[in-house]
Amino acid sequence: MTPHHLLDIRGLKTWFKTDDGMVRAVDGVSLHIDRGETLAVVGESGCGKTVTARSVLRLIDMPPGRFEAGQIMWEGRDLIPLTNAEMDEIRAREISMVFQEPMTSLNPVYTVGEQIAESLRTHEHLSRKAALEGAVDMLRLVQIGNAERRINDYPHQFSGGQRQRVMIALALACKPKLLIADEPTTALDVTIQAQILELLEDMKQRLGMAIMLITHAMGVVAENAQRVAVMYAGQVVEEASVEDLFADPRHPYTQGLIRSIPRVDAGRAPGDARTRLAQIPGSVPSLLHPPTGCRFAERCAHTTEACRAAPPPLRSVAPNHNVACIL
C-alpha cells in the first residue's frame, strides 16, 4: 500500500455564515478513500454529505461558506490552500463529479459531443477531431447506442437515464482517479437506478478509479460499496466495511437506518400480519446551535447523562470499524 490514502479528509469543518449565525454544515468530518475502492457516504438530508463532497472539489461559494478547520489531503497534498487555477487542474483530471439532477446538469445549448469534447480539449489538449472521437468513445463506453450519431444530439433529446449516462461519460472523459457521485440515482426510476449503479461499477473496474458514492439509500450502499461512512448532523458517526456495518451496526443511528430499510419478508410471519416499517423519531438537530453532547442524543433510545455532557469521540471497536458512541 502506498503511504498516502488517495483522499484523506481530516477534521474538516465547512461552515456557512447566515443572517441567523454560523451553520455548521460539516463539523469535524474525517474520512479517507483508497485507490480503487468505493466509499459510500450515507445519512439523511441535511447531514452534510453533499457539502463534504463539494468541499473536496472546492465548489463551495465563499462567502458565505468557509473552511473553518481541517485538511483535505489529495495524494498527500492539501487541497484547501490551492489557488483556483491549481484547483482547475485537479478538477476533471484527478477528481470528478456526477450530480443528482441529470435533467439540468448538461448545458442545453451544446450538443453532448461538444460538451465532452470541450473537457477533453481543455484538459488533455486534444485537437478538435481527436476530442470528438474521444467523445464518441466515451459515449460508447457508457453504453449509449448509436454513439457516432448521438454526439450531435442536444441534451433535451436524451431521456433521464441516458442523460445520467452522458454525465458519467463527461465526468470520466479525463480518466479521473476519484469520482464523486452525489446521489446519482435519486432522480431516476428504480430500474434505471440499478443500470446506472451497474454502469458506475463497470466504469470503476475499467478505469481503476475510486468512487465516493453519496446516497441516503442503505440498499444502494449494500450493493455497491466496500466501506461506509455514516454521517449525522455534520459529523461521521460510524465508519466500517459494508459487511461489518450491516452485520454489527454499533451506532444507534446506523441501527435505525438499517431497521428502516423495507424488507419483503418482514411482517409476513404468521400472527403479525402488519409490521410497521421502523422509523427514527424526531428530526436532525439545527446545525446553527448543535447540541453540546452527542448530536443524536435527542432521538436516541439509550441516551444517558454522559451522552448529553460531551461529544463522543470516534473510537475503534474492531479493526477498521470506528464509531462515535460511548455505549
Binding site: L57, L59, N84, A85, D88, E89, I90, R91, A92, R93, S96, M97, F99, Q100, E101, T104, S105, L106, N107, P108, V109, Y110, T111, E118, S119, T122, H123, Q143, I144, G145, N146, N152, D153, Y154, H156, Q157, G161, M167, L170, A171, Q195
Partner: protein, 302 residues
C-alpha cells in the same frame, strides 16, 4: 440497454432550427422579416437601380408630387426624394445597428459583472443602472450633443463626428434594460447545475461565463437588441427632426422629415415617405423582435 433504433431517422432539431420553426409560427414576425429584408435590399441595391444623385438640385422641379421622373416626389430644392431616402436609410439603419451594438455590449458587460460578482459590486452597478434609468433622456441627449458636436466634428469630420456622437449617446443611454436582463439571467443561471457541473470539470471562471452562462442568457438579449435598433432609429429621427442630428446635406430619414415639416400643406408627400420608411422599419423590427422572443424564450416547452 438497447440502442433506440427509430423506424425513421428523426430530423436533427438543433436549437437554431427549433427556434426557426417557432419563429415561423409567428405570422407578423415573418411579415416583418420580409419587409425588413426588402428595406435592406432597397438600401443596398438602391443606388445602382436608381442612380440619381442625392444633391442634384433642379429648381424647375421643386416640391413635385410623385411622378415617373421622381417616384417619391422632390423637395424644395428639386432634389429627388427616392434617392435621398435610399441614402438616408443607410445612415438610419447603420445608426440603429451600431447604437444597438453599443448598448448591448455595455449592457452585457455590466449585467454579467453584476450577476457574477454579486455583493457590493452588484449593488453599486445596479445603483448606476437605476441612476441612468432615472435620467431624463431627451434633454440629456440634447445637452450632450450641444456640448460635444463641434469638437467631434473637428476631430472626425461632419458626418463621422455626428455619427459617432449619436451612436454613443443613444447606445450609452439605452444599455440599462439589457444590463438588468443579463444580470437577472446570470443570477439564475449561475445556480444551475450545469454551471456547477462545468465548474466541477475544471472550467475557469472566464470560461464558465463565456461558454456556459452567456449562451444561455442570450435569447432575451437578442430580443431586447432588436427593440433597441428600432428605438435608436426613432431617437436619431427625433434628434434630426429637432435639427440636432446630421447636417442637412446628409439626408437621414429624420432629417428629411425635419426639412419637410414647413411644407406640409404644399407638399405632404415629402413628409409622407420618410415617415412611412421610419414607420415600416421600426414596426417590422419590433415584429421580428416579438417573433424572436417567442422563438428564443427559455421557458419554451420542448
Amino acid at each position: 440497454m438497447a440502442s433506440t433504433t427509430a423506424p425513421k431517422p428523426k430530423p436533427p432539431l438543433s436549437p437554431t432550427r427549433e427556434a426557426w420553426r417557432r419563429f415561423r409560427k409567428h405570422r407578423l414576425a415573418v411579415v416583418g422579416l420580409i419587409v425588413l429584408a426588402l428595406l435592406v435590399l432597397a438600401i443596398i441595391a438602391g443606388p445602382t437601380l436608381w442612380p440619381v444623385a442625392i444633391d442634384d438640385i433642379d429648381f424647375a422641379a421643386q416640391l413635385k408630387p410623385p411622378s415617373w421622373a421622381h417616384p417619391f416626389g422632390t423637395d424644395d430644392l428639386g432634389q429627388d426624394l427616392l434617392s435621398r431616402l435610399i441614402h438616408g436609410g443607410r445612415i438610419s439603419l447603420a445608426v440603429g445597428l451600431s447604437a444597438m451594438a453599443v448598448s448591448a455590449s455595455v449592457g452585457i458587460t455590466i449585467g454579467a459583472i453584476a450577476g457574477m460578482a454579486r455583493g457590493w459590486v452588484d449593488t453599486a452597478l445596479m445603483w448606476v443602472t437605476d441612476l441612468f434609468l432615472s435620467l431624463p433622456q431627451l434633454p440629456l441627449l440634447l445637452l450632450i450633443i450641444y456640448l460635444f458636436r463641434e469638437k467631434l466634428k473637428a476631430l472626425l469630420g461632419a458626418e463621422g463626428g455626428v455619427f459617432v456622437l449619436i451612436v454613443i449617446v443613444i447606445g450609452g443611454l439605452r444599455w440599462m434594460p439589457v444590463a438588468r436582463l443579463v444580470r437577472a439571467q446570470f443570477l439564475s443561471l449561475r445556480e444551475k447545475e450545469f454551471v456547477e457541473a462545468a465548474r466541477a470539470l475544471g472550467a475557469s471562471k472566464f470560461r464558465l461565463v463565456v461558454n456556459h452562462i452567456l449562451p444561455n442568457a442570450l435569447g432575451p438579449v437578442i430580443v431586447a437588441g432588436t427593440i433597441d435598433v428600432a428605438a435608436a432609429i426613432i431617437a436619431e429621427s427625433t434628434l434630426s427632426f429637432l435639427g440636432l442630428g446630421f447636417p442637412p446635406d446628409i439626408p437621414t430619414w429624420g432629417r428629411v422629415l425635419f426639412d419637410a415639416k414647413d411644407y406640409l400643406d404644399i407638399a405632404p408627400t415629402w413628409a409622407l415617405f420618410p415617415g412611412a420608411a421610419i414607420f415600416l422599419a421600426v414596426l417590422s423590427i419590433n415584429f421580428v423582435g416579438d417573433g424572436l422572443r417567442d422563438a428564443l424564450d427559455p421557458r419554451r416547452v420542448h
